[in-house]
């Protein structure tokens, strides 16, 4: 059975329809890349799956792990194993990274019927995961994402993912704003988390990230619909001919014209 089954999903923000009938099936352990030009709806799809209220679902359904995903609050989706790595991680002054992550982890563990971690267990876990992401431990005591560089923020997202161990990770343009070294670190962190019982949806504009995180499937999104699906070679094809080669224009430009 598929872990995630999206059927004919429609969503809008304000009066503007952004997703216009998306269907996608993700099995356990699979990595799906969603590619597309700016404004095609990639990030909207990621946010809708995580439960952002800004977007209103106007049609279709999403079944996750046998449950109606769209009926669940964002926190319940997270507790059930969905994780969104944000394109723009939010700065939260006044809340320490450590406190935040421990609260998140223990809520999720409690939900899964596992014992909550005490400070010691938590610290040990966190040390190990930070090593994986080559992160400075000092970041733990800082407020969430506050004053972090672009690269630190993205690492922090994948670090959180490593700690929370989701069943379905959605990576929203995790490569944006990263230099090549940071990209390698982030990608190797993600690859270390690949496992037969963890699926991933990797949203990206560029093929570059997919050299490091090699997907099982690639889908091309245009104007709120998947216009082409294929294997990892589709990404290479796109790299060569660009979105224009598929007859797709940059949709923000179109909207502006």
């Amino acid at each position: 059975m598929a872990l995630l089954e999206i059927k004919n999903l429609h969503a809008k923000v304000g009066d503007r329809e952004i997703l216009k009938g998306i269907s996608l099936s993700v099995d356990p352990g699979e990595v799906h890349a969603i590619m597309g030009p700016n404004g095609s709806g990639k990030s909207t799809l990621a946010q809708v799956l995580a439960g952002r209220e800004l977007y209103v679902v106007t049609g279709g359904e999403v079944v996750y792990d046998g449950k109606d995903l769209l009926a669940m609050a964002p926190e319940d989706r997270a507790r059930e194993g969905i994780f969104l790595a944000f394109q723009y991680p939010v700065e939260i002054p006044g809340v320490s990274n450590m406190y935040f992550l421990k609260a998140a982890l223990n809520t999720i563990r409690k939900h899964r019927g596992l014992e909550e971690y005490d400070a010691m267990d938590f610290l040990n876990l966190v040390r190990e995961k930070m090593k994986l992401m080559e992160m400075d431990q000092a970041l733990l005591n800082r407020p969430v994402n506050t004053g972090f560089s672009g690269g630190e923020k993205k690492r922090n997202e994948i670090f959180q993912m490593a700690v929370l161990e989701p069943k379905l990770a959605i990576l929203d343009e995790t490569d944006s704003g990263l230099d090549i070294d940071a990209l390698r670190t982030v990608a190797s962190g993600v690859n270390a988390l690949r496992s037969p019982d963890r699926s991933m949806i990797v949203v990206t504009h560029y093929q570059r990230l997919l050299n490091y995180i090699v997907p099982d499937f690639v889908h091309v999104l245009s104007q709120g619909k998947i216009v082409k699906s294929g294997g990892k070679e589709l990404a290479l094809e796109l790299e060569e001919s660009g979105y224009a080669g598929l007859g797709i224009e940059d949709e923000e430009e179109v909207a502006r014209a």
């Binding site: 209220e53 926190e75 994780f83 944000f86 809340v95």
Partner: protein, 391 residues
């Protein structure tokens, strides 16, 4: 509106019946104060200083006077001055409630920190009021602290109680040259109480003074905080006010840069829920001689409900030309992006709200240097926001 004479009538009767002080000078002060109070009466909302705070619930009520009996903890090295030495220190009787305090206070806590003494432990003055049978009580706390040149001390005032009562407090701090004085007031009065408090500080040359005004309780709270700076002195006025239900909290501050090279920092933060109303009025005066003044004022408000009201107003009176004064006020809601971020990590909506609300208050709490006070405040805030999140 009730005539001023009716509202002051009960006070007149009580004043006339009270036993005179033994010291004629002190009795004279008291009489002068009372006649000032009679002239002014209780302020109405026509008075600019009281425009957003209606004290009719106090003025209309009959209170019975109660002896003020605080718990006073004095660290070694702090001296208690005899009460008969009391004279008019800092506060003029321009404020009706200060005049009322001067007219009705039964005793003063007068303390002196000797020149050069460095007192580590805080001076604690803890107040607890409670309503018994009959009319609700009124207490008029009066504190005078004289800090000698170069001395260091910390003062913690706390106010708490049960039932309906009226606290009308006045604190005067005279800090000598180069003294370092940290003052804290934690107001956790009962939610049926009235709390009116005036703090006035006079700073010497190169004196460093800070006050942290934490306002959590009372149905109606009004704080007047004033500091007059001398040459090169530094004043920090921080405040945190949290109000819900139908609470009303009003903070009026006046920073008076009377001499050159003074520095002042002011940070007041408010969290409002329910139908609460808050007022922040921050006046900064830079007098003609006060060149090279550096002053910064910030007021930030977090409004959690559609029915809460905040009136915030900076009042800058700058008469010198070579100064730097900045001010800013914000009124905002919880950040929707931050809420979603926390929820997307499994943290429930209620917990996310309380976490962000707590975070908003954090920088004022972090500035509290007395560990025990900070700990107890953190506990109180944690419970308070948790309670909110359950709704």
């Amino acid at each position: 509106m009730t005539a001023v004479s009716e509202q002051t009538g009960q006070w007149l009767e009580e004043f006339t019946n009270q036993k005179p002080f033994d010291t004629p000078a002190r009795e004279e002060l008291r009489r002068a104060a009372f006649s000032r109070f009679l002239e002014m009466g209780f302020p109405t909302t026509h008075n600019e200083e009281w425009r957003f705070t209606n004290v009719a619930p106090i003025a209309r009520r009959h209170f019975q006077r109660q002896l003020w009996e605080p718990k006073v903890e004095l660290p070694a090295g702090v001296e208690r001055l005899p009460e008969h030495e009391y004279r008019n220190w800092l506060v003029g009787e321009q404020h009706p409630f200060v005049a009322l305090n001067s007219a009705f206070m039964l005793h003063v806590v007068m303390l002196r920190v000797p020149r050069g003494a460095v007192i580590q432990e805080p001076i604690r003055i803890s107040n607890y009021a409670c309503q018994n049978a009959g009319d609700p009580p009124v207490v008029h706390p009066r504190i005078v602290i004289v800090v000698g040149a170069g001395a260091h001390c910390t003062i913690v005032e706390t106010y708490a109680g049960t039932g309906t009562y009226f606290t009308n407090a006045v604190t005067e701090i005279v800090a000598g040259d180069r003294a370092v004085v940290d003052h804290y007031k934690l107001q956790r009065e009962s939610l049926e109480a009235f709390h009116v408090a005036t703090l006035q500080a006079q700073l010497g040359r190169s004196t460093n003074f800070s006050t942290h005004n934490i306002s959590l309780g009372a149905a109606l709270a009004r704080n007047d905080v004033g500091a007059v700076l001398a040459e090169g002195s530094e004043a920090t006025l921080n405040g945190l006010y949290i109000a819900g239900g139908t609470q009303h909290v009003d903070n009026h501050t006046v920073i008076d840069h009377a001499m050159p090279h003074g520095t002042s920092h002011e940070l007041y933060k408010g969290i409002l829920d329910g139908k609460a109303e808050a007022v922040f009025n921050g006046r900064i005066i830079v007098r003609k001689d006060a060149q090279k003044t550096d002053s910064k004022q910030t007021n930030k408000n977090l409004v959690l409900s559609d029915n809460a009201v905040i009136n915030t107003k900076p009042e800058l009176q700058i008469l010198a030309d070579d100064v730097r004064c900045t001010h800013g006020a914000t009124i905002g809601q919880l950040d929707a992006e931050a809420m979603f971020y926390l929820q997307s990590r499994g943290i429930g909506k209620g917990d996310a709200r309380s976490l962000l609300t707590y975070a908003f208050a954090q920088d004022v709490v972090d500035r509290i240097k007395v560990q025990s006070l900070r700990d107890s405040l953190e506990r109180v805030l944690f419970e308070k926001f948790h309670e909110h999140s359950e709704q």
